[in-house]
Amino acid sequence: MNLALSDEQVFLQEAARTALGRTDTIEAARDALDGGTLPDLWPVSREAGWPGLLVCEDRGGAGLGVFDAMLVMTELGRVLAPVALLGHLPATWLMDRADGPIDLVGRLAEGEARAAFMPARPPDGIHDAWTVEGHRGSRRAAVPALAGGTVSGAVHWVPDAAGADVLVGVADDAGTARAVLVEAGDPGVAVEAVTRYDATRPLGHVQLDGARATVLEGLADDAPAGAWYLAQALLAAEAQGSVEEALQRSVEYAKERFTFGRPIGSYQAVKHALVEVLRRLENLRSLVYYAGWAGDDKPDEFPLAASAARVAAGAAQDYAARELISVHGGIGATWEHDAPLFFRRAQLARRLLGGDGDAADRVADELLRGTAAARAIAA
């Protein structure tokens, strides 16, 4: 039993902090809201080796694990850094498990090219079809259809889609789900760049109209679903960083701001709310560990663990962001303050990739169906 980080993981974390520390990403987040362009942190990411984190070494990657990738995401979340890993990592993870195309995987691992994962939700005990986000977020839509080597269909709210060289997702091949890859530059592929509410989170609507598709061959049966859960886990880990930062800022202010001759953090009403942020954070942190461990060592438990982490992330991120504003009083709700940036991050993140409500539903589904994960935790 050892749930501590290894020396290599601590190093990975510290290196990420240093690399990201060279840019004032928080200030950039505000500028972007005012219409400025986001800083391009992809070169930073390449220098740090993040694009190839989940690609094995003989294909040019770092061959690291799910938990390692989550640690990097936590550092991104802490400073609201826009690095396109939420799209890139699940896509490369999936491709790395397929037989090919090896050359492309190598370029993606290098960061010469960038991939985006078109999130596709696996079936559950009630719904037997794969789905993607519809234009109205909560309304699920059918995954693109695969026929004669081409795919057609729409996938909305795809993280990091705009500017990606390849798009990886799941398509329906006459009732069978297949992982597919399309080149963004091919005819029949249109990506509309969109941002909503959180300027640090580039999204895209992908329209596929008879686009040439490469089916990823040689994948294990559970690999396409694994990419969905990996995206959930990465988003949860990213939220952990934002919550840690929000809590630290809230506590600092509660110590230095005085009312009625006392620091406001001495009042139980304020103290208990901040402890509630910590409680939710600790629950999240524990489930991020669970998801990281399951992602690397217990694939059967990954759907449950990643979904639970996502639920805890939503609960912590929302509460922490609101409390960060509340503890600062009115000033916390102004444009000049940083608190709204964390609030915006929380509100959008909670609605992506099916939303936290869907993750809670998945946790229940695993338990009620008595899946392998449910049996594992009962043992």
Binding site: M1, N2, L3, A4, L5, S6, F67, G125, I126, V251, A254, K255, R262, P263, G265, S266, Y267, Q268, V270, K271, H272, L274, V275, E276, L278, R279, E282, N283, L284, R285, S286, L287, Y289, Y290, G292, W293, D296, D297, L304, A305, S307, A308, V311, A312, A315, G357, A359, A360, D361, R362, V363, A364, D365, L367, L368, G370, A374, I377, A378, A379
Partner: protein, 403 residues
Amino acid sequence: MDLNDTPDQAAYRGRVREWLEQHAAEAPTITRDDISPEVISARRTWQRRLAEGGLVGITWPREYGGQGLGPLEQVIFNQELSRAKLPGILDVIGIGMLGPTLIAHGSEEQKQRYLAPMLHADEVWCQLFSEPAAGSDLAGIQSRARRQDDRSWRVSGQKVWTTNAQFASYGLMMTRTDADVPKHKGLTVFVVPMDGEGVTIRPLRQISGEAHFNEVFFDDVTLDADATVGAVGDGWKVGLTTLMYERVAIGLGGEGFGWRADRFAGALAGDEAAKEDPEVRRRLGELATDLLALRFTGYRQLTQLQKGQIPGPAGALSKITTINAAIAAGELIADVLGPDALEPDEWGGLVSDLPGLKSAGGTEEILRNIVGERVLGLAPEPRLDKGVPFSELRAKEKEVAAR
């Protein structure tokens, strides 16, 4: 990060499993909450058998009859016990909290006299800390021990929420020995024989109608001069050791109550309509998430313990999460199953116990204060009792109330 057993741990697990398989037939069958004398007696015998097998006091030092092993071996034993669906020891409080307190602060005579019978359940122990007027503010206890001319002590006062008092041989009692100093300073801890003259034990029935706790009254009970644990006036320090072990027990033992995500889900799984109800699924998903988080928080604490770090007050957060997740589970199950769920042999016991458990081991409010101050470093609220001799506190409180 590695949750697997090391080879040594796997070997230990194997030995425990084998022992439990060989002795399973000797274990009593226990239905929930049965505290009849026959069951207590059967559980004593079972603890004795476990102790003979080296499975009680696993983390205690060898010189006092323990196994000198780490917290992880204790957890392995707990897991194996649960896997074999066998009952645990009778004296959880003695073995988990009071024995370790005696080991840390007791005299050599006390250790030699009390620890072995405690291990074997020949003498069960109870904890005599809380009082009707002192729970969250534990140092405000009013029971008094007065030194007699012959160096013996006479103790008077009342304790409450005392688990196992009705069949305990001894209690570890915190009481006031000096009222003329500030309240944390005038306390002393004693070993008290529960069959002593002047000790009255009264069961305390709770919402469920059952009596898991007792009130204990002390009316001029005489204690020997050597009944003190730790120095006279050092009772707060001794008590904090007990509370630290209580935190460890709560942190590592939440699932011991059977409050597990899979078990709560199992209560709903037979209802086909509920299984597909989005509201039921969402509520289950959220409370199950909390319970899963607790399991891994426990593993994180265990990792710290293994490295020799003392678990910090953040562990109190686990208790808050546990209780509230179990409340949410009781609510959901009752909503789905209807009034039948509230029957005592269904989920009524859970539903009834939780409001009280919310205050057990520290109320949610005091735990949030402690975590806010010790972990987050927030300032305490102003207090009126700092530096004030205990004997003057009452007058001061009255003065404030009259303002």
